[in-house]
Amino acid sequence: MYFVELGVKGLVYGCMYAMMAVGLTLVYGLLRILHIAHAGVFALGAFIAVVVANATGSLALGVALAIVLSAVAGVAIYRFAYQPLLGHPAFVPMIVSIGIFVVMQEGFRMVFGAYGIAFEHNPYYTATVDLAGIRLNYVEIAMVIAATVLLVGFGLFASLTRAGIGSRGTVSDPQMATSFGVDPVRVRYLNFIFGSGLAGIAGALVGLLNNYVEPTMGGLVSYKALAIIVLGGLGSVRGTLIASLILGVVESYGTIYLADIFDRDAIGFLFLIVVLMVRPQGLLGRG
């Protein structure tokens, strides 16, 4: 039973990683940029949620604003940092992204203190539910539901609507897409809005799960999300989703079996490196 529970917990983490990683893979697919600043957007979502929730007493409002402001931040990063640098080799915007991430993280530290803030009214923190013998926190369930709904919705959007198909066209063949009337800039904005909004929700949910938000929380999840998008094959959303779940599960079991050698976070990267050595294009990449 413990074995199964580990697996389920792993999947829950996988859902969280997926929400982070999808934003990253969308940006990479469109712009070939490693959007490391995404970590800052994640943390921003968490901070907005906790600040608003504590100030107004409404968690719902906190989460809602977290989504909106994260989306705005993501678009702003695109507009002011990436768009002007598209002609340069990918190294350049990546470094700017790292700079933005560092500035955001330090900014949070200066404004909110190194130890972060806790949620004042969070009934979900301790409330658990017993599903077939496995104890799950309400927030964990919310995470799985949110991830599933949003990602499935995105999948449907991408394959069924005109806008969605147009966006995919922009990724595979920008010039062709433009001649069909698809506006690549609008597509990029949409992708940043969606990806960053997702990161915002993920941040808010992680904050709720731990019941507090601290400045460095973006870092680790983001590094893992980067590992995931590489693992899934850069630019492949399907690959990213699968890799997210796999990573969550691998970490869950790995932590138990490799506890004496590596800590939890290193396990994910160890897995990444091993996979890349065997399949340099990632699990589902096309080389």
């Binding site: 790292i98 290193a266 340099p280």
Partner: protein, 287 residues
């Protein structure tokens, strides 16, 4: 007072070796490495561990460098298999692997690191001089490489690997060489740091440190030896000169990364070159 000066010079010297070592990998040979602090750490831990066993400095320093270089070559082997963008994440992963490993190993002090390291057997000023000589040697070596056929070949590999193959360049051998030299030098810096600080902690060699080293390289002008020397001195002195700068050190680093890459990706060296070119153009225009 002389103690303070010795301390400052030591830190500048160590940072300079670190930055120049990354410059060889990323600047000369074009291989992105976001985990360079791991090699700094490997050198440091090797030297520290041996020094506590009674091994003299003259042996621990080369041992640290050799260990870092060896593992660096192994990591370099991963660079042969994966594409550019993957390399950034893979090297980031190496950094986390190192940290995750070291934090768990009791014989390396786990979270508490290694303390009670013996002194270098020299008074602080003399040791600072030793570090200074090492740093100067690394500067000279970097310039030598740059002007040699190795530098020319590195430029070709950094420009276009496939084209480099068609001019007979053994691309894998050169990449491994760049990694080996760069990481060995970082290991040397680690060894030097050990006798300076007398205590080492895992967190000294984390992702933030990798970014700090990268910042020195990028702001100096990736690939430029004198640019990197200048930026290292400036960025190390900055927190000393300004108390405010010291508290906001990371914020300033991040901000500089953003500004430099956004407006002058060639760094200080790029700005210097542009200024000289403009000056020459003006002089030619005069009657």
């Amino acid at each position: 007072m002389s103690g303070y000066i010795a301390s400052l010079l030591s830190v500048i010297g160590i940072n300079m070796i670190l930055a120049l070592s990354l410059n060889i990998i990323t600047g000369f040979c074009g291989q992105v490495s976001l985990g360079h602090a791991a090699f700094y750490g490997i050198g440091a831990y090797t030297a520290a561990y041996l020094s506590k066993l009674g091994v003299p400095l003259l042996l621990t320093l080369p041992a640290g460098a050799a260990m870092a270089g060896l593992i660096g070559v192994v990591v370099g082997l991963t660079s042969l298999r994966v594409r550019h963008d993957f390399l950034a994440v893979t090297t980031m992963g190496i950094g986390f692997l190192f940290l995750g490993f070291v934090r768990k190993q009791k014989w390396l002090g786990a979270e508490l690191g290694i303390s009670g390291i013996p002194g270098p057997g020299l008074d602080p000023l003399a040791y600072a001089l030793l570090i200074g000589i090492s740093a100067a040697s690394v500067v000279a070596f970097s310039l030598w490489i740059k002007r040699s056929w190795m530098g020319f070949t590195f430029d070709a590999v950094a420009d276009d690997e496939d084209a480099a193959r068609t001019v007979g360049i053994n691309v894998p051998a050169y990449k491994l060489t760049a990694f080996g030299i760069g990481t060995a030098l970082a290991g040397l810096a680690g060894g030097l740091y050990v006798y300076f600080a007398r205590i080492i902690l895992p967190d000294t060699f984390d992702f933030v440190q990798s970014i700090a080293i990268l910042t020195m390289v990028v702001i100096g002008g990736t690939g430029s030896v004198w640019g990197v020397v200048a930026s290292t001195v400036a960025l190390t002195l900055l927190p000393e000169v300004s108390r405010a700068a010291s508290d906001y050190r990371l914020l300033i680093f991040g901000g500089m990364l953003i500004l430099v890459m956004r407006f002058s990706p060639g760094g200080l060296a790029g700005m210097a070159r542009a200024y000289i070119a403009a000056y020459r153009a003006r002089r030619r225009a005069l009657p």
